[in-house]
């Protein structure tokens, strides 16, 4: 009962940058709807405890639906891959559910699927997430299987070879997605030589080099309870959760905290570009540079600034200019990928090949605009009220909340994050927005990637 073949939406919207018509509209709306005060954060109070083996546990009880989401985050990802073996963390994660000391790949799949549950594991740049989702009545089984794949994977040879060949095939298939092609090239340019520059799932060159002993070594070194955050959200009390965690995770032995040698990525110093020819009707464009880390104190000011620039959907300047006023693209947006270390800032869009130049100029004009003048009071207040008001919507399912809880712990944001967030956004000023735009947007030294029919885009080298 999926809803396939559905054309999703779109809508437009212009942002009203003051002006008389805007004021009139505002008044009409104010008359029509009394303006409620912004919502005050989210009423979420996690219980946190640390097991004797160092495993950090966070629990939020939600009784509304008889389900349990169990989310583990191991603090090791592709940033820990040796450069010549990019994809190692990803391969290890992909092999967790392909055989344990007591269960074959087939048995693991059969057990979780028989109860309609799911078991997943995937490596990102900074961490690996492994999750189980089950009905409340199957909570014990969910914990048991997740604990098993984290503590006792055996990495059987034939599964290793099969999964490796599967991953190589997927890398080939990604070439059919212009967005993936562009993102890979973009990351290479922005993070030249830094681990964030290689794809988490590795490359055709590096995956074949990974040996079984690399896999075992990575697992033994990195998969430790004292490096893991376990978040549980759903129809379990904190005491029930504690007893399940004790039963299934107490036997996991603590180990030495792995050494982290990865340095901060270096900013590019002049514009660089990469043009990739593909027989396509649209050119995919990515433009950007190094951004910020999640722990940067400017994160909240940057969030507000970027909302106004390009993350605010139909309220953003980029959408207003490129889609609504010029009809150049279906979607355009900007994003700061704030990781443990500074991630990328990127603007991305797709436009008909012939319009590529026009779209790039429009993007650069908006970046400069953010740096040249303060945003309006109107833009600022709209951005803040969206970010504060929509906060509960970002936490409104067990899966979303469990994921956010783990990241709050990973980045050390504090358990009061859920009540503090509105305040952190509210205190951002127009001056802050201008300052962070000038500090973190660089329309003079960016990486630019184009994937498309370059002769039509008239950018052929």
């Amino acid at each position: 009962m999926t809803t396939r073949r559905q054309q999703t939406a779109d809508r437009p919207v212009m942002i009203l940058r003051a002006g008389l018509p805007a004021l009139l509209t505002m008044l009409a709306l104010l008359a029509a709807f009394p303006w409620p005060e912004p919502a005050s954060g989210a009423d979420i109070n996690p219980v946190r405890f640390v097991m004797p083996n160092g495993l950090t546990v966070l629990v939020v009880e939600q009784q509304a639906v008889p389900i349990v989401q169990i989310h583990t985050l191991v603090k090791a990802g592709s940033a820990q891959d040796p450069p010549e073996k990019a994809g190692l963390a990803y391969l290890v994660a992909s092999l967790l559910d392909e055989g344990t000391a007591t269960r074959t790949a087939r048995q693991l799949a059969a057990q979780i699927e028989f109860v309609g549950g799911t078991l997943t594991a995937k490596a990102e740049e900074d961490y690996t997430a492994a999750t189980a989702r089950v009905l409340k009545k199957d909570a014990d089984l969910g914990f048991e299987l997740l604990a098993d794949i984290l503590q006792h994977p055996t990495f059987p040879d034939r599964e290793l070879e099969r999964v490796r060949s599967q991953l190589l095939g997927e890398i080939e298939a990604e070439k059919d997605d212009p967005g993936q092609v562009a993102a890979k090239a973009f990351n290479q340019l922005v993070f030249d030589g830094h681990p964030y520059g290689w794809p988490a799932n590795g490359t055709e060159e590096t995956l074949p080099r990974i040996t079984k002993s690399d896999v075992r070594g990575f697992y033994t070194r990195e998969y430790l309870p004292n490096q893991t955050i376990l978040s549980i959200v759903g129809d379990l009390t904190a005491e029930e959760a504690r007893s399940l965690v004790t039963r299934h995770f107490s036997g996991w032995r603590k180990g030495p905290t792995p050494v982290r040698a990865t340095g901060t990525p270096k900013a590019i110093e002049k514009p660089v570009e990469r043009l990739i020819e593909k027989d396509l009707t649209q050119t995919t464009i990515m433009l950007g540079h190094l951004g910020i880390s999640r722990t940067n104190p400017d994160f909240y000011a940057v969030t507000v600034m970027n909302y106004i620039l390009g993350a605010g959907g139909f309220s953003s300047r980029l959408m207003d200019s490129i889609r609504d006023n010029q009809g150049l693209a279906y979607g355009v947006g900007s994003h700061f990928d704030a990781n443990l270390l500074p991630g990328a800032f990127a603007v991305s869009l797709q436009t008909r090949n012939e319009a590529a130049h026009q779209a790039i100029s429009a993007v650069l004009a908006e970046l400069k605009g953010m740096r040249d003048a303060p945003v309006t009071d109107h833009e600022l207040s709209e951005a803040k009220s969206y970010l504060i008001g929509s906060f509960p919507l970002r936490l409104d399912t067990t899966a979303k909340l469990a994921g956010v809880l783990s990241l709050v712990e990973l980045y050390g944001l504090g358990l009061d994050y859920f009540t503090q967030y509105p305040r952190l956004i509210e205190q951002v000023t127009k001056e802050d927005v201008l300052r962070v735009a000038q500090q973190y947007l660089h329309p003079d030294r960016y990486a630019l990637v184009l994937v498309g029919n370059l002769s039509k885009a008239k950018v052929k080298q």
């Binding site: 809803t3 029509a32 009423d43 080939e172 919507l393």
Partner: protein
């Protein structure tokens, strides 16, 4: 803005398909089939019909202080005519271009500054608009939806611009996505006279030919309260909200609706095949079989069949094609019974590089043949049922999905009560039913096969320029 696909055949399709929606909870879960009185609904749907014929479905779900407002119109590409494919979707875009009271841009900006998200989607059978926001602002969304049900501006200049946006959307979703392009071609082949023939987004020539008058006629014909279902799910009190809904929507007069489309696709007599050759890295094989919709009792057995074939790593297609034979990167089967008219049951496989598409196609048919000859095992049948039921319960975690399922069931003609009966009907499916529907529907003569064949690099250069 995330890129969304028509279907999601690539790589993580299996996961995506398990993310089904739903609203029924049964404390006796796991027990043998029970008479319907034993099913306890965790969610109570309150139905009201306004004097002008608009149906209102309300669900009180206080688990988070949020609400989803969705208005579903019974109009989609199924209600279009040859030469104007994509009109419903184009109108959906124009619904954000303003009314006299709320000019262009106001709608989404108002929702956003109140901390909400809004959007819309168009399918073959419906067009739906939604707002997700804090529960105390539900009236705001209702007021904006009521306003654009009447008096849409449909400005000519805005339409010209938006046509370009929709063409970009078509390039993004279809032209430059080899698998989506194949799916579109396959539907055009499987349905020759029924409107499921054309794509929801429309063909370029039709998009170019569309006029403001076409849009205006479509809007005036189909955007009427007696052609709409309003669904509100969230932290609301139905009793308190209903007077507001009545005040906002009841004054809107009903319209004389055209009769529903009556085209019946003739019986298919023999396999149809299409091949698409284009610049791509991996081959893709898809087989669509003509299949009934919710109106047929067989639809439940087809749901189970879909699950046995394709849900999870223990499913037949994954075990054989991906795990044992290692000839596919991804496999899937998809069947939706919530269609206004009978559509397709389809299976697909992304061919592993170096493997032959014809071998993969044969392997797909072998798995179907096995289900036509031998019964699924007791464990397989129970797993499929457990998966469908669990997916229903997981679906309650999201008020958006709950509302979506109710809106969809109501709008395609099944009625929202269909959702209540669904789990029980699924429980009643037998192994013999599964074999019987495999024998009846998954047959060569009513099959349409599509093959995506990647072209060698050199052929691409010659093809370039023809667009």
């Amino acid at each position: 803005m995330p890129r969304r696909r028509f279907i999601t055949p690539v790589l993580h399709a299996l996961l995506v398909m398990l993310v089904v929606v739903l609203v029924i909870s049964d404390p006796l879960f796991g027990a043998p089939p029970q008479p319907s009185s034993s099913i306890v609904l965790a969610v109570r749907v309150q139905e009201h019909v306004l004097a002008n014929g608009m149906k209102v479905l309300l669900v009180e779900s206080p688990k988070a202080p949020v609400v989803t407002v969705q208005i579903w119109y019974k109009v989609g590409s199924r209600n279009e005519v040859m030469g104007r494919a994509g009109l419903s979707h184009m109108l959906e875009h124009m619904m954000f271009k303003g009314t006299p009271k709320n000019p262009k841009g106001t709608f989404s900006r108002t929702i956003r500054k109140n901390g909400g998200n809004d959007n819309a989607f168009t399918s073959q059978d419906y067009t739906a608009y939604f707002e997700n926001l804090a529960a105390d602002r539900v009236e705001l969304a209702l007021e904006l939806e009521a306003d654009r049900l009447r008096g849409l501006l449909l400005d000519e200049k805005e339409f010209q611009l938006e046509r370009e946006v929709v063409k970009e959307e078509r390039r993004l979703r279809t032209e430059d996505d080899p698998q989506a392009f194949l799916v579109e071609s396959l539907f055009a082949q499987a349905f020759q006279i029924h409107p499921y023939h054309w794509p929801i987004i429309g063909w370029f020539p039709d998009l170019n030919a569309m006029t403001r008058e076409d849009l205006k006629r479509h809007y005036e014909t189909y955007y009427a309260p007696n052609n709409a279902t309003l669904v509100v799910v969230g932290d609301i009190k139905a009793e308190a909200l209903l007077p507001t809904i009545t005040r906002l929507f009841e004054p809107i007069p009903p319209a004389a609706l055209p009769p529903p489309p009556s085209v019946v696709e003739p019986e298919q007599r023999g396999e149809r095949r299409i091949v698409v050759k284009r610049d791509a890295q991996v081959a893709f094989v898809m087989a669509g079989y003509r299949a009934p919709n919710y109106a047929s009792a067989d639809s439940y057995a087809l749901m189970i069949l879909e699950s046995v074939l394709s849900h999870g790593k223990s499913s037949r297609l994954y075990q054989r094609l991906v795990y044992d034979q290692k000839i596919a990167l991804a496999v899937g089967a998809e069947y939706s019974l919530l269609q206004a008219d009978p559509e397709l049951f389809y299976c697909y496989a992304v061919v592993k590089p170096g493997r032959k598409a014809e071998n993969v196609e044969r392997a797909l048919y072998r798995e179907i043949a096995r289900l036509q000859t031998a019964l699924p095992t007791v464990e397989e049948l129970q797993r499929a049922k457990n998966q469908v039921e669990a997916a229903y319960i997981f679906g309650q975690d999201s008020i958006f999905r709950q509302a979506m399922l109710l809106g969809q069931a109501e709008t395609v003609g099944a009625g929202w009560k269909h959702v209540e009966e669904f789990v029980e009907r699924i429980r009643g499916v037998t192994a013999e039913d599964v074999r019987r529907v495999a024998q009846r529907y998954l047959v060569e003569d009513t099959r349409t096969v599509g093959i995506l064949m990647p072209t060698p690099a050199r052929a691409k250069q010659a093809a370039a320029g023809a667009q």
